[in-house]
Symmetry: C2
Subunit: 230 residues, 2 copies
Amino acid sequence: MHEHIVKSYDAERARLLEETLRMGEMAAAQLEAALDVVQRRDDDAAARIIAGDAAIDALEREVSHDVMKLALRGPMARDLREILAAIRVAADIERIGDYAANVAKRSMALNTAPPLPHVAGLQHVGRLAVQQVRDVLAAYRDGDVEVATRVRAADAEIDAAYTGLFRELLTYMMEDARSITPCTHLLFMAKNIERIGDHATNIAENIWFTVHGDDALPEREKADGSNTAT
Amino acid sequence: MHEHIVKSYDAERARLLEETLRMGEMAAAQLEAALDVVQRRDDDAAARIIAGDAAIDALEREVSHDVMKLALRGPMARDLREILAAIRVAADIERIGDYAANVAKRSMALNTAPPLPHVAGLQHVGRLAVQQVRDVLAAYRDGDVEVATRVRAADAEIDAAYTGLFRELLTYMMEDARSITPCTHLLFMAKNIERIGDHATNIAENIWFTVHGDDALPEREKADGSNTAT
């Protein structure tokens, strides 16, 4: 009987991980699709991405259910940290999905004006973010603290790319007043992507928390200078 | 013995609520202070707000600890929903604190240029957000679903004020290229405040979840038109 319960806990735990990873891959795919839609100026595809966000939200509710089922079994120490981390990771993925959907939504506003050459920088920072999300999900799947720590450190690269793009967009806006509204959308799209990087970092920190509990994380570099740009 | 355990569960539960409410009041006070600092152009006070965010983060870690302690007791049904909601509410409050600190940080960038008349609109939407945060914390303290539902509905007011401010700032940017950088900071500050409203809404939805579980929430109006402004 005891063995039966243990086995079943592991099965539910595996299901929770599988759902969370599926949710994460959906969010990464939504972000990739949103970047593509910005490039192709495709309103129909943008609308599909926006509608697709509901599936990620539904998976988050499933994750919450499964966490509650596991919590009822009275898990201890690392098992308990694992399910707490699962709730937080699911919430981070849900936000990544929201930001991807917002990129798609703003692309529709961009499509009402002539194409801007300034979308290239967005693709660069966007691709970095997609890679961060995929890398951190792999680390989460494997419970790999080393990979998680590398992903966390690599967030500085996104921050630096975002800050560069932010400054670039400001100069375009100053040169041509007609570009102000579309460039503002691009600023917010870039900010969404920078925030996606932060959520990948949060996931990395939850991998650390699962393994090491509340031990302090290593120091890391921050490179987002856009908050203080003058 | 049984009574002793029950009593102690309630004591820990009360402690969790008290900590979460304290955390929430700190975040509301940080937002209020940040709005004040924007008005007074006070870099020293802004730096204190930025430093003060660490205390909110520390409280979130305490809340997580207390949730873990309560989870070890194997709570059922509503008790379990309550502690799940507590983790999420603490995460929302933590984000509110981050956004308030970011408003303070950006005020320092604004202070390097001459004062702008456009900060008045920010004060208006900011005060609405402070009120929403305080109202939803009161509903959380009282477990009052009706008040929570009203707070959730009132988010449309913040969205509408934010959208108005967003459009106003765009026109200033078009009229005067020198205002582009400071107005961009104001756009992001306004967005931070709009996001604080969303987190107050999340807290309201967690009050609903605690009481009603996964029953569907009532429909509500959304009034953020800034994503599609052209």
